[in-house]
């Protein structure tokens, strides 16, 4: 079992990569074999991550577990250092789960052009990048995984996307790359000002970097600015969000699901894992501004949602708002806020993932993303699909008892009582504005439901005999629907894991 503990994370991360490599050698004609490999690889990764979850020591979520720490690139001191704690565990499980569900969904529903080999290989490659990001504790390793994600996503959008797919793919790629360059600069700045407590050499190790003084206040703030730019673009925070609606809108269904479900969390995770613990003083200086941008994102995202005519763009803008709540939680630098943020990340992952699945299935049936061409009265034609859509939309607007609520309300609560040294009045203003944002959120979500679902269906759609929810869709969605409900009534499932880890982190902020 000790071997397992050491290598289980590597297994989770690299099993999909092995699957992707295997797929490349399977002959093109053997589609069934391609699907089987993809299912086994992603399923295997999921199973291992669940075993990790089961073997995780929940009494010590603050300490890193399942550590593997091997020499990697000796000349610069970069190490193959992976481990998880209470902060990364929920995200890792979310990643493996969503990837598996996406693979399941794609076994039957494949976007045009029909090239399953490349499609599945890219999804698996993406999975490796994402789970690698959430597990690595070495800045170089982190960066490699972080960048690894871009490539498959670029091709997923550019090949299997719709409408302006090349533009969107390129925009996504370049924009995030632009951010990560500054992030890398920040990493290097920390590296060259660091000193490993044992060896005395420069280090990329996230744990060793904690508590180091990198230089003057201005310098540290500058380093934070670099990290901020990298992470904020990924989140995306206002005003760095404009790649998101394009990428989401034009990506294929599972691309959008993974983009919203997991990729965005890499940004917020970066803040929690790297920016805050490594540069706590700068974080405190930056917190009011981050909070302000978050609140703008909440209101702005909601307002933009009201103006959207395209269902996928609407959900994409709703992500901007929801990520705003998550960043607001982070910016408070409190236990409550960070717990809220991680919970919000998981909740947003399942809810918005679900919404994008639905949008994809709707697009597949109606061949349009325009709300007024799909609706009204979709629920008349497809009662179950409409019902699931209504459920997910209601979950997304943060109804208590469903997953979306806790992230939002705890983040607002955190803003009511921000960390010591932050301007209470300012953050309370943020809180009120965020509260107004919840009204708008309810407004656009219910309006969306009304325009799509309710009313009398047009003759055209009634005659089309569109299929209601199909078995494969049900298979892929049921776990998410259950998660939405379960997280709502039993938030402890996530909060208990994160809490102690988060408390350790906020100790830095007094």
């Amino acid at each position: 079992m000790e071997t397992f503990d050491t290598w289980s994370l590597s297994l989770v991360v690299f099993l999909p990569l092995v699957g992707a490599l295997l797929i490349t050698v399977v002959p093109k004609a053997q589609e069934a074999a391609v699907r089987a490999v993809a299912l086994v690889a992603s399923g295997g990764s999921l199973v291992v991550s669940i075993v990790v979850l089961a073997r995780f020591d929940f009494d010590n979520t603050r300490t890193f577990q399942f550590i593997v720490d091997k020499s990697w690139i000796e000349t610069i001191g970069a190490r193959y250092h992976m481990a998880i704690d209470g902060i990364s565990l929920p995200l890792l499980v979310l990643t493996t789960l969503l990837v598996f569900l996406c693979v399941v969904y794609s076994t039957k529903i494949m976007p045009e052009p029909h090239r399953p080999k490349g499609f599945f290989a890219l999804i698996l490659l993406l999975a490796t990048g994402m789970s690698g990001t959430f597990t690595s504790l070495d800045l170089v390793l982190f960066f490699v995984f972080w960048e690894l994600v871009l490539v498959p996503m670029y091709f997923l959008i550019a090949i299997w996307g719709s409408e302006r797919k090349e533009y969107s793919a390129l925009k996504f790629f370049l924009y995030t790359l632009f951010g990560s360059v500054f992030m890398l600069l920040g990493f290097l700045a920390m590296y060259f000002r660091s000193r490993h407590p044992v060896t005395g050499a420069h280090t990329f190790d996230m744990i060793a970097l904690q508590g180091q003084t990198f230089g003057s206040k201005a310098f540290v703030n500058l380093v934070f600015a670099g990290l901020f730019l990298g992470f904020a673009i990924k989140v995306p925070m206002w005003p760095f969000h404009t790649w998101l609606p394009d990428a989401h809108g034009d990506a294929p269904t599972v691309g959008s699901v993974l983009l919203a479900g997991i990729l965005l969390k890499m940004g917020t995770y970066g803040f929690i894992r790297i920016a805050l613990p490594l540069l706590p003083d700068a974080a405190r200086d930056w917190a009011p501004y981050i909070g302000a941008l978050s609140v703008v994102a909440i209101l702005y995202g909601a307002l933009c949602c009201l103006a959207q005519k395209d269902i996928k763009r609407l959900i994409a803008f709703s992500s901007v708002g929801h990520m705003g709540f998550i960043m607001l939680g982070i910016s408070t630098l409190t236990d409550t806020g960070l717990n809220a943020a991680i919970f919000g990340m998981v909740a947003h992952g399942v809810i918005t993932g679900m919404l994008f699945f639905l949008a994809g299935s709707i697009y597949e049936r109606f061949h349009t993303r325009q709300i007024d061409q799909i609706g009204p009265g979709m629920m008349q034609v497809m009662p179950y699909l409409g019902g699931i859509l209504a459920f997910s939309a209601i979950a997304s607007l943060g109804l208590p008892g469903l997953a979306g609520f806790w992230g939002e309300v705890l983040s607002l609560l955190a803003a009511f009582n921000p960390a010591e040294g932050l301007n209470v009045g300012l953050f309370r203003t943020y809180m009120v504005l965020g509260g107004v944002g919840t009204i708008l959120t309810a407004g656009y979500m219910l309006w969306l439901v009304q325009r799509l679902n309710l009313g009398k269906a047009s003759e055209k759609h009634v005659g089309e005999k569109l299929p209601d929810v199909r078995p494969v869709e049900l298979a892929a969605w049921t776990p998410l629907l259950i998660a939405i409900f379960a997280l709502g009534v039993y938030p402890r499932a996530v909060l208990e894991i994160t809490n102690s880890a988060v408390t350790g982190l906020t100790g830095l902020f007094g």
Partner: protein
């Protein structure tokens, strides 16, 4: 589910006080039963012989009997225990613990009975009213989900759990108002209801946070304890109270957020009876009563509540005067009566408010169900298409009559006792006979507004009764009496509308006030016959005036003679228009589009501009720097070599002798150099 149930049972250890009554100890079953029913109906409802309605009816009946046992066993007569049990829901180590808990006292017991009884009546009624509806099973599921949410709101021992119930009833209201969502109007009304109440909920949420920040707990008992110990500053309490009241304004449809309730009548009538008359809309009143010490601590907050109540009761009663839609008459009447309760709370008469809530739930549910019976018969909501129905629908007529008289405040019906208690209390506080909780003059305003409202109430109910039941039938078809499944609940509620008031007969010191004891106050004012006389006279006057004006039914609405004021009422004081023009439209259509424009053109324009700029400058760099300068240098090296070569070639003229000369010259030079410097 089983796990949760087991957990609830297990956690029943953190006991504050206990009761020997099994039902009280297991009061959590009351909300859990409809919750289970919700899932059962969804899962197997369609395969049941009665399409799932029997599941809902049976579970709610069980909840009702439990509630009745609790109320009668522990609280009737006063002095009941406060039973608190909780299980840890999730801990926030170091910050706070959130519990799933129950706090049972007289107030809760009364609410239990009200909610489960009305829910039961409405569900039985609905089996006939909704018969043949295509979403029959879903309808019952939603009713049970609503019942659960409402009971959860009532039972909650902490504010977060209460908030969950609070939002839960909101979404159920949304689902049920929009039950017939094929019509655009209905779904719009549903959205309006949800968004309007949510606006209040933001204030409510902030209020909860304020209390939490001050008391460091969400637990209601602990908060109240800290308030009574004086540990929380007056300013904080005022802020918290006003913010919490913001939530109540939304939920209980008080000015200025009352606009959703009349539109909510788009839902099926039994839903209106349950949600928009008897239970959900009273959640605001319940909240104030539950946290009464918080409000009592702040005179300003109490005055504000009282004034909003006084204003709303008059405003809504006036609107009820001119409605043609019978459900809208009742809706405005509900707003007005809720304002009565609010005003009562505002002057400090918490028990009177809850008493009115209690009686109002029965007679207003009765009136709504009666209206449903009428609508069922004539297929129209409009009173202009009714008339003369007392002959064809005798049961409906009699029960509706009882409800109307109860609402109008005619003794000895239920509404009289509760309304009179409110007026008596307001008068006594207003005249300084008793030390007022708020400001004396405010209580007096409440009394005057109450008297005026009582008159208007009697008048519009008289109008409604005469327009529907008297005279000749003006509608289409041949209406007939509703089936027993509908008239049965009417009769039961009618009986309750008669007897429920006796629970709080003035001067009975172990009466209703002692049962609920809002804010620890159990005193019941004794009857003041002058005041009773005044209110009865006002009610009778209103009824008589109504009879004079609408008997027989006039061809034209006589109130139209009010001219401008009539138009003002017709336009609902232009409040809806104002919200639509000043808030909804700008945000939805203007502001959002502007934002989107900004997004697409400014922010995204910046991004695209950066990209375009990068491309242009890249082209420039390529064209000028790369091709001209850098590649120019490379090419230049070649060209210059050729040029120099071209020049040097002339040295090589093919003249061998010159070569030789060069050679020797060179040798000579080197020879010279070597000899000179070598």
């Amino acid at each position: 589910m089983v796990a949760i149930l087991a957990a609830v049972q297990e956690g029943a250890e953190g006991v504050v006080a206990t009761s020997g009554n099994w039902a009280t100890e297991h009061a959590w079953l009351i909300p859990v039963l409809p919750f289970v029913a919700f899932f059962l109906i969804l899962a197997v409802g369609k395969r049941m012989p009665r399409k799932g309605s029997e599941i809902g009816i049976l579970t709610v009946a069980a909840s009702f009997f439990l509630s009745l046992i609790i109320l009668i066993g522990d609280y009737v007569g006063g002095g009941g225990p406060v039973v608190e049990h909780a299980i840890e829901w999730f801990p926030f180590a170091g910050t706070f613990d959130l519990d799933l808990g129950m706090k049972i006292d007289g107030l809760v017991a009364v609410m239990f009975v009200v909610v489960t009884l009305v829910s039961l009546m409405v569900q039985i009624y609905s089996t006939a009213y909704m018969h043949g509806d295509k979403r029959y099973t879903w309808y019952f599921a939603a009713l049970n989900l609503f019942t659960f949410s409402m009971l959860n709101l009532v039972i909650a021992d902490n504010l977060i759990q209460l908030l969950i119930g609070w939002e839960g009833v909101g979404i159920c209201s949304y689902l049920l108002i929009g039950h017939w969502w094929e019509e655009h109007e209905n779904s719009s009304a549903a959205i309006k209801a949800f968004i309007t109440t949510r606006t209040g909920d933001v204030a409510f949420l902030v209020g909860i946070f304020v209390l939490f920040a001050a008391a460091d707990t969400f637990n209601i008992t602990e908060i109240i304890h800290k308030v009574e110990e004086g540990e929380i500053s007056h300013a904080t309490l005022t802020a918290a109270a006003l913010l919490l009241f913001g939530g109540a304004i939304g939920k209980s449809a008080q000015f200025p957020l009352h606009v959703w309730l009349p539109d909510a009548m788009a839902g099926p009538t039994p839903v209106s009876a349950l949600i928009h008359a008897a239970t959900m809309v009273t959640a605001g009143v319940f909240l104030l009563a539950r946290l009464f010490p918080v409000f009592e601590a702040s005179t300003q907050a109490l005055n504000f509540v009282a004034l909003i109540g006084a204003f709303t009761m008059l405003m809504a009663a006036l609107l009820a005067l001119i409605q043609d839609d019978i459900k809208r008459v009742l809706a405005y009447s509900t707003i007005s009566q809720l304002a009565y309760m609010m005003a009562a709370l505002g002057v400090g008469a918490g028990n009177a408010a809850i008493f009115h809530l209690f009686t109002h739930a029965f007679f207003k549910a009765l009136l709504f169900l009666g209206a449903g019976s009428l609508i069922h018969a004539v297929h129209s909501n409009n009173m202009s298409e009714m008339g003369g129905l007392k002959r064809v629908m005798p049961t409906t007529y009699k029960t509706f009559m009882i409800g109307s008289l109860a609402l109008a405040g005619i003794p000895p019906l239920a509404g009289f006792w509760s309304k009179d208690e409110i007026l008596t209390e307001a008068y006594r506080f207003g005249t300084g006979a008793v030390d007022p909780h708020g400001t004396q003059v405010v209580a007096l305003i409440v009394y005057i507004a109450g008297i005026l409202t009582a008159f208007l109430t009697a008048f519009y109910m008289s109008r409604a009764v005469h327009l529907t039941f008297e005279g000749t039938y003006r509608g289409k078809g041949h209406p007939h009496e509703s089936p027993p499944a509908m008239t049965g609940p009417l009769v039961i509620l009618a009986v309750l509308s008669v007897v429920a008031g006796f629970a709080g007969i003035p001067g009975w010191q172990s009466g209703f006030g002692a049962w609920v004891g809002v804010g620890g106050e159990t005193h019941v004012p004794s009857a003041d016959f002058v005041l009773i006389l005044v209110s009865v006279a006002v009610a009778v006057g209103g009824i008589a005036l109504g009879r004079r004006m609408y008997m027989p039914a006039p061809a034209r609405e006589p109130l139209e003679r009010m001219g401008f004021f009539y138009r003002l009422l017709q336009r609902k004081y232009y409040l809806d228009d104002l919200y639509w023009v000043a808030i909804v439209r700008p945000i939805r259509d203007l502001f959002s589009r502007a934002m989107n424009w900004v997004n697409q053109n400014v922010i995204d324009g910046l991004v695209n501009g950066t990209a375009a700029g990068a491309r242009v400058s890249a082209q420039g760099i390529y064209k000028y720097v790369d091709q001209k300068v850098i590649d120019g240098a490379v090419n230049g090296a070649g060209i210059s070599t050729r040029k120099t070569g071209g020049l040097l070639k002339y040295l090589q003229g093919g003249d061998v002798q010159r070569y030789a000369a060069y050679l020797f010259a060179g040798v000579a030079i080197f020879a010279f150099l070597f000899t000179r410097f070598g």
